[in-house]
Amino acid sequence: MGGLQNSTSVITSSKRDFRKSRFRKLLRNREYRYAVLFLAPALLFLMIFIYLPTLVAFVIAFFHYHLGSSQQQFAGISNFRDALSLNVFQKSILNSILFAAMQVPAILVLSICVALLINHSSRYYNFIRTLILLPYATPAVGTAIGWLWIFNPTYGLANGVLHWLGLPTSQWLQSPTMALPSIAIYSVWHGVGFDVVIVLSALGTLPRAAVEAAIVDGASAWTRFWKITFPLISPTVFFLLIVTTIGSLQSFSQIYALSGGSGGPEYATTTTLLLIYETAFKYNHLSYGSAMAIFLVIIILLFTLIQRWASKRYVYYQ
């Protein structure tokens, strides 16, 4: 481009004038002024609190950053390396994955069963849907207190039911093996309503003709479900699988509340997000916490990308 610069200078300058005038014209253009004016507030917030911080998170993770200090020491990948070799961090990733592996299948199966059960548009069934969705709106700490008492090894309802059924009782939240499953049980209770509502809306779009034809043909409910209903709602189920998994990896409140803010017993309920919170905000290791956060973000991002990719291919929107 450089060699041509002289010979085309006339053209370039006129081009620049043209651009300049076009820019002026754009600004004078009322539609553009409205667009800029109306979009600026939202974009400003997103810029300050989402776009820039996402980039900054990566930068901090490569430093030994201390708030208030003027000299920040470059750390290379040592924060990442140290995090990966930390036993508690490894355990926290395992815990996060286990937590999702326990609650997500339970939520999906339960929400499909419940949605099929209450898939009627009457006031009565709407009322039941409301009851099932109610936990979704309740604050985790507030409802966790009730569940702490339910899981109480000596006087709790959970052991009461097991005892009544003649089954062996459990230490629940106080047992290193049962603590994480106990919180998963809480999360299923808290989150299943959301999935039920979405499965219901998918069931609402099923073509009635296909279902009725199958009934006429004498297909059993079981066959109808596996041959017609499930294939038709499977894009929704896949969507819920990913979204519920992402939500599970982002759980914090219920784990904080049900483990008494500790992640115990014996780190049994220390998920990655809880560890990031402790590292960065309790012990003030911001860079170290940032490196851990990036690992978590990458895991979540992977699921998000799968979902975006798949939804373009399978999910059908009207």
């Binding site: 539609e31 507030p41 009851l131 569940w147 979405i198």
Partner: protein, 273 residues
């Protein structure tokens, strides 16, 4: 195999499932109202003793009115701020014609791809640098724009008949008149849905307030309740009472306006946050 469940059986079974979901809340209420002797029984006691005095004790142990006021203030300002920015942005993305419109919209949707765990520590730093940690603003500003709100509103705005805009223009009106006199009045239900979501999110948020605040006088109810819980794990009846009166407002709000919440879930399908 011909499976045909009778409607009555199905209705009864559905009711049992619904009540099972209510049981933990019921159990909290029972515990809060039990006598001391009755909570320590096995199998658990499931009828009310009506010991309201426990509520008075739990209420007087903490400065609850202050925490409620903090939560309401934070939620209120967040709702006004986020609704304003969302309405303006969604309006520009649906009614104003300009080049790069789809690009800006994808830029906004990109936010849904980025998990918010990425921004926790940098946002804390930003607020620390401008000396806003430990204030109400620290709990409001990061939620100043709602991508969920922009998305939902844009979807709604795009369904507006074109005639509305044409008739406003013929009468000599511009975007502001159209927005104020036509779009906003018709958007009330959807604005209410988004506001409700912001309110519930604000009421239930724990992690961010825990991170950016230390002073009790700016903290919301959930943080206070978490402190009450971790500090008094043996006062079961008082804890349950506190749990009831801090959860009740959201439960009532939900029961009254649940159709708006269901609408939000169904319409916003494919979107989180």
């Amino acid at each position: 195999m011909k499976t045909h469940i009778s409607p009555a059986l199905r209705a009864v079974f559905a009711l049992l499932v619904g009540l099972a979901f209510l049981l933990p809340l019921y159990f909290t209420l029972v515990t809060s109202l039990d006598t001391k002797a009755d909570i320590f029984t096995f199998p658990p006691h499931l009828t009310f003793d009506w010991q309201w005095s426990v509520y008075a004790k739990a209420w007087s142990m903490f400065r609850w009115p202050m925490y409620f006021a903090n939560t309401l203030l934070i939620a209120g300002v967040t709702i006004v701020l986020a609704l304003t920015t969302s309405v303006l942005a969604a309006y520009a993305l649906s009614f104003v014609r300009f080049r790069g419109r789809t690009f800006i919209f994808s830029l906004i949707l990109l936010v849904l791809m980025i998990p918010n765990e990425a921004q926790l520590i940098p946002n804390y730093l930003t607020l620390a640098v401008v000396h806003l940690t430990d204030t109400y603003w620290a709990q409001i500003l990061p939620y100043g724009a709602s991508v969920f709100g922009i998305f939902l509103l844009r979807q709604f705005f795009l369904s507006f008949p074109k005639d509305y805009w044409d008739s406003v223009r013929i009468d000599g009106g511009g975007h502001l008149q159209f927005l104020w006199h036509v779009v906003l009045p018709q958007s009330r239900p959807i604005l209410f849905t988004i506001g409700l979501y912001i309110f519930i999110g604000s009421w239930n948020s724990l992690m961010w307030p825990l991170m950016v605040t230390q002073s009790h006088h700016v903290q919301p109810v959930e943080v206070a309740l978490a402190r009450f819980l971790t500090g008094n794990s043996v006062l079961w009846r008082r804890l349950s009472a506190a749990s009831v009166f801090t959860t009740l407002p959201v439960v009532i709000l939900f029961l009254v306006f649940q159709r708006y919440i269901i609408r939000g879930i169904s319409r916003g399908e494919g979107i989180q946050g």
